[in-house]
């Protein structure tokens, strides 16, 4: 019981640290690819601390609550995803719950941004929603392939099954590839940074955020990166202990970053069509294979 | 107890006394039909329990049955006689304030004669007598259709007359042939000897009779007169024609096919004809813009259903058919009466002109709604029980052909629902134009409409009121030996 409580407290912290590390790392790596020097890896953290102490504007109660909901939703999501064998709440919710809990964060942002009454926000939300509709198709196919293959909806069981034998990526390479292909869309990084496109719609959903709001959304983003990649590692790369899990996450993240950093930004309709084409087909084929065998 | 011949004699006497009463006061004459038919109705109600125990055979002239004109008052006869006098009574109340165009005394005479004809048809036991009453019915209805002497009315009457008299001639041919074969005119007597004649000749006779009665019964394709006549006649007459006159045609067909000829082999064909009539009637009704014409076509459809049920030829089928006769008579009389007064208030027969009347004439519209719901066959109205019985009767036969038939009949119901629901919506939910001066109908109009509406609901909720009589009537048609026995004695 005590271990559980401790892990409930510790796990979000670990996730936060890893998330911030990835955030900083991504800026550094992209800068290097662009032949720039780039900011220090701790820059995002510094930014957040700075933002917390800045004054900001608010558009109403929902504007505040949405942001809080968004971050809280991400925090609890961490508790359901096994991290190197630690999964304090795995018995309270399975993959289905995880899929649904992933909703809370964007919903919070959308509600909060909605009250801001800024058209840029509305456009941003609309893009976020459409993009989600795009990547959900291959995402769900991939998840279903895994669940069908292992005949369980529990993520812990999936991980356990992989650790006893081969990783899922060897049985289900196509869904894994599909998941990997849409990972940037889920994370909102290039070439799928349509939602926040600073040059077009002034950062979209974040346009009205300043100070603590921006701080919370940045933290949420850090969690988000952690969650999406941890999910991938759990589903396809067989989890692992604390260290191997982290290494796997790093590999996945860097691979995604390297491949995608060189692409220009897509238009939203191109993004949807992209998601519904190759990743969806690959994942679907994978699902059919998983269903038949 | 009461002599059933009063049922025919009283209205006849009253009919011709109308001019006499007219001498006393012009105001009295329009109440004469009410009185006559009220007495008739009471007598027939009083007769019902007695007849259910034992049918009454009245011989006229003192001879015993095969040799004289006689009345055979069985359950079927009394059922239809009650229905006829009842609806006639209600319609005559309606006519008090509805018929204003002179010469009103002629209207009332003809109306009573029509009643005499109709009651005579269902009560008589003599086939030539049947023909005579039939002619009384037809001639008075030709004249009544042309009562307004307007363009439509005369044209409709002309067409009705030509087709009707061809039909009457056919009936007469049939009667002549029957007399030629058997040398008797008594229906029971003919029925008892029917096997002794050559079946082919007999069938030709039957064909003439079916065609003749079929014209009045509006079997497709003999029903071309019906939409014209029903839509052009005064609405009270339309109600009678739809509610009663065509039912006498059905009665004629049923009597010939079941009792006299025992022609079971043709029943399937009759059922098919009924189905065809149903489909075509509903299809044509769907495309009408004229409310009365629509109701007339709907009558064709309903008659088709009645004849279809008649063709099922099980006791339940005949029962259902008779039930449908009752429920349709009530509903269609109600619809014509209500629609007639709406037309009177609005001044146009087009369906679109009824828009919004639900707010101006709430009771009339409400009654109209009940009538149409009953015709569609929605619970808790009378039409539901009768339609359910028909469907059940058809299913009970367990023949695939009837299964297919009833499926088609149900599809026709959808068409029927289509136009009736549209009209109900027009009444209540569409905005009408120039409705300011329209007021609710007067008492004489509302009373019959309200009574009919209540009857529809009462029978729908508690069908046992009439099912006993209907069952006995169905037995009368199916057990011809019983009928022959009543008249000729013995068996």
């Amino acid at each position: 019981m005590i271990i559980k409580v401790i892990s409930i407290i510790v796990l979000p912290l670990i996730a936060l640290i890893i998330g911030f590390f990835f955030l900083g790392l991504s800026r550094k790596v992209i800068a290097r690819i662009h032949r720039r020097y780039g900011p220090p890896i701790s820059q995002p953290l510094i930014d957040v601390i700075k933002l917390i102490n800045q004054e900001s504007i608010s558009h109403g109660k929902l504007f505040d609550m949405g942001v809080i909901l968004s971050l809280a939703g991400s925090v609890i999501l961490v508790l359901f995803i096994p991290f190197g064998g630690i999964a304090p709440l795995a018995t309270s919710g399975d993959l289905l719950v995880i899929i649904y809990l992933m909703l809370l964060a964007p919903l919070g942002v959308a509600l909060s941004g909605g009250e801001a009454a800024n058209p840029n926000v509305s456009i941003g939300i609309s893009r976020k929603m459409m993009l989600a509709l795009g990547y959900e198709v291959p995402f769900l196919f991939s998840l279903l392939a895994v669940m069908t293959w292992y005949k369980t909806t529990s993520l812990v069981e999936v991980v356990k099954a992989q650790q006893s034998f081969l990783w899922a990526i060897f049985y289900l390479p196509l869904p894994a590839v599909a998941y990997f292909m849409i990972l940037p869309a889920m994370l909102g990084i290039r070439p799928f940074d349509i939602v926040s496109a600073p040059q077009e719609i002034a950062s979209g959903t974040a346009v009205e955020y300043g100070g603590r709001y921006l701080a919370l959304t940045t933290i949420q983003h850090a969690f988000h990166i952690f969650i999406d990649i941890a999910l991938f590692v759990n589903l396809f790369l067989g989890g692992g202990n604390l260290l191997t899990f982290f290494v796997k996450m790093l590999v996945v993240f860097l691979l995604g970053l390297f491949i995608n950093a060189v692409f220009p930004r897509l238009r939203i309709d191109q993004a949807i069509k992209y998601c519904w084409k190759w990743p969806a087909i690959l994942a679907l084929v994978g699902l059919i294979i998983a269903r038949i065998i | 107890m009461v002599n059933p011949s009063l049922l025919i004699g009283l209205p006849l006497a009253f009919a011709f006394s109308i001019p006499l009463f007219g001498l006393i006061s012009k105001k009295i004459e329009k109440y004469i039909p009410i009185i006559a038919l009220f007495i008739n109705m009471v007598i027939s109600f009083m007769l019902i329990p007695q007849i259910l125990k034992k049918p009454i055979v009245v011989s006229i002239g003192g001879w015993s049955p095969p040799f004289c004109i006689n009345l055979v008052v069985g359950p079927l006869g009394i059922l239809l006689a009650t229905l006829i006098s009842g609806i006639g009574f209600l319609v005559s109340i309606y006519a008090v304030s509805y018929i204003k165009e002179e010469p009103t005394e002629k209207y009332h005479i003809l109306f009573l004669l029509l009643m005499v004809g109709a009651i005579g048809i269902v009560l008589t036991g003599d086939i030539f007598n049947l023909f005579v009453f039939f002619e009384i019915l037809c001639i008075s209805s030709y004249a009544l259709v042309a009562y307004y002497k307007d363009k439509e009315g005369t044209e409709a009457a002309m067409k009705y007359l030509i087709q009707g008299s061809v039909g009457s001639s056919f009936i007469l041919i049939g009667v002549a042939l029957l007399y030629g074969f058997f040398g008797t005119l008594n229906m029971a007597d003919i029925a008892s000897r029917i096997t002794s004649a050559n079946p082919t000749y007999l069938f030709i006779t039957l064909a003439f009779l079916i065609t003749g009665f079929g014209i009045e019964a509006a079997i497709f394709p003999l029903n071309a007169w019906l939409p014209d006549a029903h839509s052009s006649a005064p609405s009270s007459i339309s109600a009678i024609l739809s509610g009663i006159a065509i039912k006498t045609g059905v009665y004629g067909v049923a009597r010939m096919v079941y009792t006299i000829f025992n022609a079971n082999s043709i029943l399937l064909f009759i059922a098919f004809l009924g189905l065809l009539t149903l489909l075509i009637g509903e299809m044509c009704a769907f495309r009408q813009d004229d409310i009365k014409r629509l109701l007339a076509y709907s009558s064709i459809g309903q008659i088709g259903l009645i004849i279809f049920a008649l063709g099922i030829a099980t006791s339940l089928g005949v029962f259902a058919s008779l039930f449908q006769i009752v429920s349709h008579a009530l509903a269609k009389a109600l619809l014509f009466l209500a629609a007639g007064y709406m037309i009177y208030r609005v001044g146009s027969k087009s369906i679109a002109s009824l828009n919004g009347l639900g707010k101006k004439m709430p009771l009339t519209s409400f009654a109209f709604t009940i009538g149409s719901f009953s015709l569609i066959g929605l619970p808790p109205f009378a039409g539901f029980v009768s339609k359910l019985s028909i469907v059940y009767a058809a299913m009970q036969v367990k023949k695939p052909v009837f299964l297919a038939f009833i499926a088609i009949a149900l599809i026709a119901t959808i068409i029927e629902a289509g136009y009736f629901f549209k009209i109900v919506q027009n009444l209540y939910f569409k905005e009408g134009k120039n409705l300011d001066k329209i007021t609710e109908s007067s008492g004489y109009i509302l009373i019959p409409i309200a009574i009919l509406a209540i009857l529809i609901i009462v029978i729908g909720v508690h069908p046992q009121f009439i099912t006993g009589l209907l069952k006995a009537s169905a037995r009368e048609l199916l057990e011809r030996a019983g009928y022959i026995g009543w008249v000729l004695g013995g068996t």
């Binding site: 900001s56 809280a72 939703g73 009454a117 | 059940y392 367990k398 939910f429």
Partner: protein, 618 residues
Amino acid sequence: MQLITILVVSFLGAGIVYLTGKFSGRVRDISAVLVSLAVVILVGLAYNQKIYTNFYSLPFLNLSLSLRLNYLSWFFAIIVAGIGFLSILFSLEYIKDYQGVGFYYFMMLFVNAGMLGIVLSADFLSFYIFWEMMSWGTYLLISYKGGKAVAAGLKYIIMSVAGSLAMLFAIVSLYASYGTLKFSSLASLLQIASPGYILFLLLMFVVGFGVKNAIWTLHTWLPDAHAEAVSPFSAVLTGVLVRMGMYGFLLIMYSIVGLSLLHKLGYGLLNFNYILCWIGAITIVIPTFTALLQNDSKRLLAWHGIGQGGYMVLGIGVATSLGIAGGILHTLNYAVCGALLFFVVGAIEHRTGGVRDLNELGGLIKRMPVTFIAGLAGISGLIGVPLTNSFVSKWMIYKTLIMENYPFLAFAAFIGTWGTILSVYKFLHNIFLGQLPEKYKDVKEVPLTMQIPMILLSLAIILFGILPGIPLKVISGIEKSFGVEPLSTTMFGMPKEIGELNLINILAVLLVAGIVVYLIFSLSAKSRRVNQDDNYAAGLFVPRGKYQYSARFYDQAYRIIGPYLHDVVDDFYYWLVGKSKSSFQIVRQIYTGNINTYALYILLFLTLLIFVKLGWGL
């Protein structure tokens, strides 16, 4: 006796309410509320009882009409009564300015009574009678508003009549075959029937119930009807009336035919349940994405009504204990959310003068906060956000689909949820969020009688979301009566052998996380409250009143999916009606108006008769 009392109170109550309306509008309103409340109480008191009574007999058909109460009927009866009561309460203010209010209350109560009759019937004849009474009552209520509603009402009733006639066909055929219409007797008699006959029966009933439950290809009446009916009745329509079809499915499939017989219908994948599942799946996907394209708030919800119905059909189609329970539970959950959302739309209509166009609204959160919260609860419930009610039922359906190895059906269900998220967010955003247009500056919150139903339903969404054990207890009783192995449940979710779901834990961590985040939030530098016009526009001038991005909210997505979502079924029906009309036109040319032709018909008929006799020897 108790059941008869319920029906008598509800039917007579309707009449009394109408009559009192003739004297005083106020008394009528109060009595309408009282009658519907009395029905709720009476039904509530009947909980956990088993009753069977004959109440009427039709000797000429050898039939008696009877009523019964069991878990299944109680479950539906309480939904009917509850939603009926709330919608009457909601109507008080909403309907005030309409014409024919007495008629409205009468029909509302009458339709409710009809629905109670349906769920309490113990034989098919009374079932059918109440069913038809409900149907035509509904038709009158849909058409009530006039205008476009007239066409919607007609469309509804024609489809409904077609469905009921299919059902009547099956019912009468049952009676002709077995001589009884009692559910309990039929259930045992049908066990020896041939699979072909059962399939025919099920097909007919699926058409009959499918029209009501608006399964795909029979759904086309629903968007029009829901959109054009008055909002309190739309709530009843979507929440309970449409779900009478669901009750019918449960009744015929599990209560009468039974699970063991269902499994024998068909070979391999081509069996009844599997096909029903796919119909359910299609019913989820197509309507939900069609909803995405709607700009009329009620139409949008109406399409969701169809889509959510797909989940229920899918759930009961899978025919596992978990799936059936999920389907039934979803019926309850959707009744709550659907009714709530229509109340919300009704509240908006009430305050903005009947505006339903999503592109014209916006920013109303500042004027109608209670309605907004209700709307938020409603859409969360509809999506199935964790800790709201639909989450549990959807979870059960997904879970069983995956465990039964139907990943594609599961995918349809999942992607349907995503379509739901998109469209209901648009619904919420375009009404409540974004900028408040000038013309709605003075809009006020709706009166209390309209708030109460919304608040109660919002609470129900949360309550059933956290404590799904309450309805699931009744549902396991229903399953027991079906002869299906009942689902074992706990108060807060599922026991471990069924799956990992513990809602109280999720609630607890969410609360803790929320509090922690809130603490961080409130400890950081304060923010300044600004006006809605005061926002960042990249240095551009902000035009007042025209500063709204909501029209064609998901434009790019519409362009991609729009062409595929054309309602071909509806087109087909219109084509059919058009063709029938023109063929009727041809048919009626038979009556040429020329007397010579008519005489010819007579002669032809005579010769035909004779030829038929001589030729076929009939």
